[in-house]
Amino acid sequence: MDLTYSDEYVDFRDEVRTFIERHRDQAPIGELSRSRARLAWQRLLIEHGYTARTIPKEYGGYGAEPDILRSRIIAEEFSAARVPMGLADQGISMLVPTLLERGTEEQKRRWIGPTIRGEVVWCQGYSEPGSGSDLASLKTRAEVEGDEFVINGQKIWTSTAKEADMMFCLVRTEPDAPKHQGISYVLIPMDSPGIEVRPLVTMTGHAEFNEVFFTDVRIPTSQIVGERGEGWLVANTTLKHERGMLGDPNAAQAHLQQLVDLMREERADGDRLIDNPALRDRLLKLQGTALAMKFNGLRLLTSSARGEDAKIARLAVKLNGCELNHQIAALAIDALGELGLLYRGDERARDGGGWQWQYMFQLGMIIGGGTAQIQKNIISERGLGMPREPKTGG
């Protein structure tokens, strides 16, 4: 065990700091996704290798060797300076790694560059009304006609479908095969005739996700990633990337710091919230858990650098991390008392009503990307070797 950084990394950290100092006035404010300033910032980050770092140059990336320590230093410095990191939407975090692993040369050249630059926005079309946790039971069909797939069916809970240019989507191409072997992974332009997107308002009051209907939507068969019937394997490449992203301990650290600041600044009956023993103890408990998750993250970095499987330490990240984020928001609301009720638009709302939004949004994260119960199935089966759930139907 050795947590010191060698000179090479110390220099790299200086380099990142200098970059941030020099360019911070160009950093976009707020998280508004596709503003002109945001896209310019993204291009600047790619150019300096602070995002899309390991994506090969020929596909529009920076082309560096994978080095988890450098990635970590970048993340630490950007979050310490509170300047926005590179974009990390579903296209960048899930589709791009999948294409790199499974895509054809033509697909990589066509999609990776515009995606990492934020010019092409993707949505993930997996879940269906009848197929959530049991994703492999999905029914949306794609039939081959000549050199086209003809797609009919429905997706649901599709985040950002309204804004997206493209969808990476799971469809059933081999209806007679066993359910896991009949699925293909295809790329669908969202402006294709026959696609209808209906926003679904969520509990936050905003339409974070959508229903997407397909009626005789035609795409070239070349828009498949991997072979026909291999879609389940291809999708699992992306799910792996998704679960690493959900429950990210750095995000929890940032939320926790914000909560500490809030509780030190806010007062009730003249006393700082942090001086209330019950609230203070809850805050400390969360801090302990957040530290455990942070150091667990360090351990995962080392396992991956050593080429070892961290097993349960890795499988537990999504389950624990999302729950932690939810609990952090819950404490902020409780500490604020009745003020904690105020939501976006109220002038007395603290942090713009963001804590209530977080509290709800993080519950969505507990459900999305494989529910907490599904994570527990995975931990007990793959991590502890307990019997698999009985499979029925197909």
Binding site: M1, A292, F295, I312, A313
Partner: protein
Amino acid sequence: MDFGLSPEQHMLQDSVARYAAESAPLERVRRYAEGADDGSEMWSALVDMGVLGAAVPERAGGLGLGLLDAALVQEQLGAGVVPVDHLPHAVVAQALVRTGASDALAKMLAGEVRYALALSHAVQQREGAGVRAQGDGALEGSSLFAQGLRGAERILTADDQGRLWVVRTSDAEIRMHESIDKTRPLGEVRFQSAPAELIDPSGEALGDLVHVARVLLAADTLGAVQHMLDAAVAYSLEREQFGRVIGSFQAVKHLCAEMAAQIEPARSLMWYAAYAFDHLPDEFALCACHAKAHLDEVGRFVARTATEVHGGMGFTDLLGLHYWFKRIGANRQLLGGPELVREDAALLQDW
């Protein structure tokens, strides 16, 4: 930058686990708990392994490793509920290193002089406990919940100024407590003008010693909860009800998953806190508090949940699972329960 155990550290864990299995199998732990084994063989086998000096520099006769290595030893002792007083000796070793008491340290590492640790009153005072100096050669007062009294010749304690003293057990009045954890007997020491040697007049070492002890308690709990989870999973794959192993019921699987999901991050926290002692001194105290409090909470959850997975069998004396349950319970109370330790963490951050 590398945050994982080295091959040598894995070997250290394996050898202590082997020692635990060979020298302290459950039947022997039980005999010790019932007073039919005085523990001296288990103790000398531990001394012979040389691990008491894991975190002692080589020039002072130790292995020259770090607190993390001492914690890995403690973890394996917790996993086997081994009735030996490694913890007080590992803490005393740090005190003796700090104060340059090299002769005393050599004797302790060789197993010639055994120590007890009486610091409970420095964390929280109950029942009028507290120790005051009389001049510079004697102590007056009492301390509860001293660890390692059985077989000890010396007691390390602190006065109300935080200064460290060593007292001969024969100069103190000792009464053993009836505590739930029979694998590490606790007792009360009373000093009445007891002759004592002042080893740290600065009063500066005490804080670190308490935090070292907290990390070791966390490590002991970590080992114990891992054992309880392993036992619960193994039992769930054997025991059948309704025509199938109980480990195939999702309710049981999820309990086990929850235990596992809490244990692994807690392990990372314990590693970090122990590593910080030697390499990140500014972070040590805070991480030690969090490691202790967090493992106290994980410990409570796993101790009850793993017992529950065993059904009525878990509740019996016969199976012996309760030794782990109680050891975890004792670690939680000792040197500050989670609420107290978290408040220490708050003060360390100037909240």
